[in-house]
């Protein structure tokens, strides 16, 4: 079946460097994408979202890029800090799904090296 997946299960980054977390999706009908951060022992926390009519969206220290041609989504975190250590999930919402049922990727664990 169609699903959202992540390229790398673990990403190790030096503190202060930029992090790029990637996600591939296979459902071309998806029109809304979200990145979540999940810290150990906590529930997922919304970071940033993007609609399919956009290819880039910026937040505070984070940028999401969407490439619909290759069905690829990425999350860029600028100047990575120890507090960014978490598992990052991408999720997609299928077009026309008014109930906001998200399909989640497998998650990438971001490790910050001091």
């Amino acid at each position: 079946g169609e699903s959202v997946g992540l390229h790398l299960p673990t990403l190790s980054v030096q503190e202060g460097d930029n992090s790029i977390i990637n996600c591939a999706y296979s459902n071309s009908a998806s029109d809304y994408f979200i990145w979540y951060k999940q810290e150990s022992g906590k529930g997922p926390q919304f970071i940033i979202d993007i609609r399919s009519n956009m290819d880039k969206r910026q937040g505070q220290r984070v940028t999401v890029l969407l490439n619909k041609t290759v069905k690829h989504l990425s999350l860029q975190i600028a100047a990575t800090q120890p507090g960014d250590s978490a598992v990052y999930f991408c999720a997609e919402n299928l077009s026309g799904d008014s109930n906001y049922q998200l399909i989640w990727g497998a998650g990438t664990k971001l490790i910050i090296k001091p």
């Binding site: 906590k42 529930g43 997922p44 919304f46 999720a91 906001y100 998200l102 399909i103």
Partner: protein, 111 residues
């Protein structure tokens, strides 16, 4: 800042027993959800709830599962006869347009 709360934080039960997981969504939200996350795996959708009825449910949400909004604030997930494979973190969420807010989760351990 309003938040979704869940109780208990950890529930241990024997296989075959019934459990009820409780959630208090954010007060002005109208859409409610349950997800589960087996240890080390991705988050899986279970059910969505709107206007006092189930909107959608996944194949995981079989006859052993049920949800209720017994009053104006609580939203519960009941598992009638727990199985070992029900052991997971269960997250409740509620939403306003374009953003879901998740609770901290209940860790369910079935022995």
């Amino acid at each position: 800042e309003p938040e979704v709360t869940q109780t208990p934080s950890h529930q241990v039960t024997q296989m075959g027993q019934e459990v009820i997981l409780r959630c208090v969504p954010i007060s002005n939200h109208l859409y409610f959800y349950w997800y589960r996350q087996i240890l080390g795996q991705k988050v899986e959708f279970l059910v969505s709830f709107y206007n006092n009825e189930i909107s959608e449910k996944s194949e995981i949400f079989d006859d052993q599962f049920s949800v209720e909004r017994p009053d104006g604030s609580n939203f519960t997930l009941k598992i009638r006869s727990t199985k070992l494979e029900d052991s997971a973190m269960y997250f409740c969420a509620s939403r306003v347009p374009n953003e879901q807010f998740f609770g901290p989760g209940t860790r369910l351990t079935v022995l």
